[in-house]
Amino acid sequence: MELIWLVPAFPLAGFIVLALGRSLPGKAAGAIGSAAAGLSAASACAVAWLFASGGKAPYSTSLWPWLDLGAASPALALSVDALSIVMILVVTIVGFLIHLFSIEHMEGEEGYHRFFAYMNLFVAFMLILVLADNFLLLYLGWEGVGLCSFLLIGFWYGDRANGDAARKAFIVTRVGDVALLLGIILIAANLGSLSLSESPRLASAAWGRGSGIAVLAAALILGGALGKSAQVPLHTWLPDAMAGPSPVSALIHAATMVTAGVYLVARTNAFFSLAPQVMTAVAVAGAVTLLVAGASALAQRDLKRILAYSTMSQIGYMFLALGAAAWTGAIFHLATHALFKSLLFLAAGAIINALGHERDVLAMGGVAKKMPLLFWTFLAGAFGLTALPPVTAGLASKDAIIARLWYAGGDARLLWWAAMAGVLLTSLYTFRMLFLVFAGASRGPRASGHSAMGASTALPLVVLAALCLVGGLVDFPRVLGGEPYFGAFLGGALPASADTGATAGQELLLSLAPLLLSLAGIPLAWLLAKRELATEAGPALRARGSRLAAFVRGGFGFDRLYDFAFARPLSRLAGKGVDPVNLASEGLRSMTLRASRRLASTQKGPPGRYLAALAVGAVLLLAAALI
């Protein structure tokens, strides 16, 4: 267990070796990068095994003292408990598979070293974030992860658009990070401790439930989470983040970074349970994002943007679960989502590469015939996403969340309806994507591309697909004959969700409802795809619905709103960088110069003026004498 620091150390070492060793031959960089990720995964499994067999006792080790904020003195310390074990397993295993996949996928790219260096750095920061023992170290990982997403989104920095997308991602998440930082300072100032284990205890002791300070702290933490997990209102950066390479989208914008927000809320659940108002806010944010993203995904034409919006809506589910205090359900969905969403992204990357960088789904088609392996793995991922029977990953986690909402009763019922709508939307956009990409004749002009897949590309896809199939069993609902091992495992770290007290029949019905809804979605999606292909041909039909489609495709106008509210006034305010204070000092300077020039003219003007002045002076003096 003491070797826990090895887990983040391997990718960090990989980063340093790759960053300094620019002269390494191409292939070696990929190998080193993947090796680092692999070793980290191995050590993570070892630690998990030791943890599980060692009686699941939380363990923390401190490397060196960092600084002290008043009473709180956060150190660079890593701590392990059930929650962080799950997270490091997800991060390292999925990370390793993605590294393997990108060896071949990124071949021939210009910054090959740079890519693997940043990917390793990302895994290192993510692990630091997850293993952090105190808020400050978590914040270090938090910002580091944001930095790597900036570097990797803007990987092909030759094109300005990628750079802008990367900057947008970093700045929008920075808004959330500042909220989190203020929250950390608030906690340090009021509780005197930043430790992730003690501060919740101190908080529940010191702060009353629903008191102002508790609500403020929870809200600030939620701000940070919303930014990083791309939930409404800080979600506009995720669709643009697709400018990065596909493995990046798979690792960062599907499996790990975007779920950091969920991890943070789960980790600080004590603060949230102290502030019920904020809990409802979490649920509402989740529900809103769920619907907005689902609808937008339906209208997208770019394959990766569909998956981006789908990720946003799935995380909406997780926030919904957190809002309903189903902590273990959220984390379980996080894990399964990481599996099938990274699978979908990797497969999408392979498809785009195979079709010569064609991203528009309407211009694809017939891929199933050409690349059957891709089709079957993509199908597995899609079934996971829409929680259909053979693939158990999505089924177990999502249905648990929806069921929990029903039992919560009261206005949570409203959230239940939103979740059900979400299920329908999910299956609609997933199968629309499936039909457009795989079914029918190949519509794309450039069907060439290297479709042959090497072992290092195929292996990760197959492994991920297998994990999707098996994944759900880990926490299958008892009513369907499963056993909630996962819930039990996490019991130590997260408060158990209240017993639902529902009869077996009710439970069965509740898990079947979403299933039926998903199945109903398939034919609808087929019709939708057909109509869309038709309208693609006939412009008349397209004109009518186009403005609404454009609005929905644009993510419900959030982008334009933020641009109008923040970006444009700020750049206008900054103007050409003309500094009014500087103008004031320049003005002062020219004023004094003008005054001195005017005074000087009394000294060197034509003599006639002096004579006149003399005469007038004399006359005036005489007059004064007379009066």
Binding site: K604, G605, P606, P607, G608, L611, A612, A615
Partner: protein, 110 residues
């Protein structure tokens, strides 16, 4: 000759003095200005004479004599200056004149 005569003479002196002043201020040529200075000087001398006559005191005329002396010296130097100026620069009140008068070393100064 009664008191009124003296008043009239005084008025004459004042008038001449004023005309001299107007001349100096109005004209731009140095020669004219010197001339008008002479007018004013003479008007002042006349006032002395009037006073001397009023109190029948010789002092008035003595002062007039001294005034003559100053006028002579003044004209002598004034004309010499005008002579030196007119050859090279200008003898009217212009900027270059100030330059010359201001003592700044002009081009030819040794």
């Amino acid at each position: 000759m009664s008191g009124q005569g003296l008043e009239a003479a005084l008025a004459l002196a004042a008038a001449l003095f004023a005309i001299g002043l107007a001349g100096i201020v109005a004209r731009r040529s140095l020669v004219f200005m010197l001339l008008c200075a002479e007018i004013m000087l003479n008007a002042a001398g006349f006032a002395f004479i009037i006073a001397g006559a009023r109190w029948s005191q010789p002092a008035g005329q003595v002062m007039f004599i001294f005034l003559l002396v100053t006028a002579a010296a003044e004209v002598a130097v004034g004309l010499a200056l005008i002579l030196t100026l007119t050859g090279t620069l200008t003898d009217t009140l212009t900027g270059t004149l100030t330059g010359a008068l201001s003592g700044r070393p002009s081009k030819g100064d040794r």
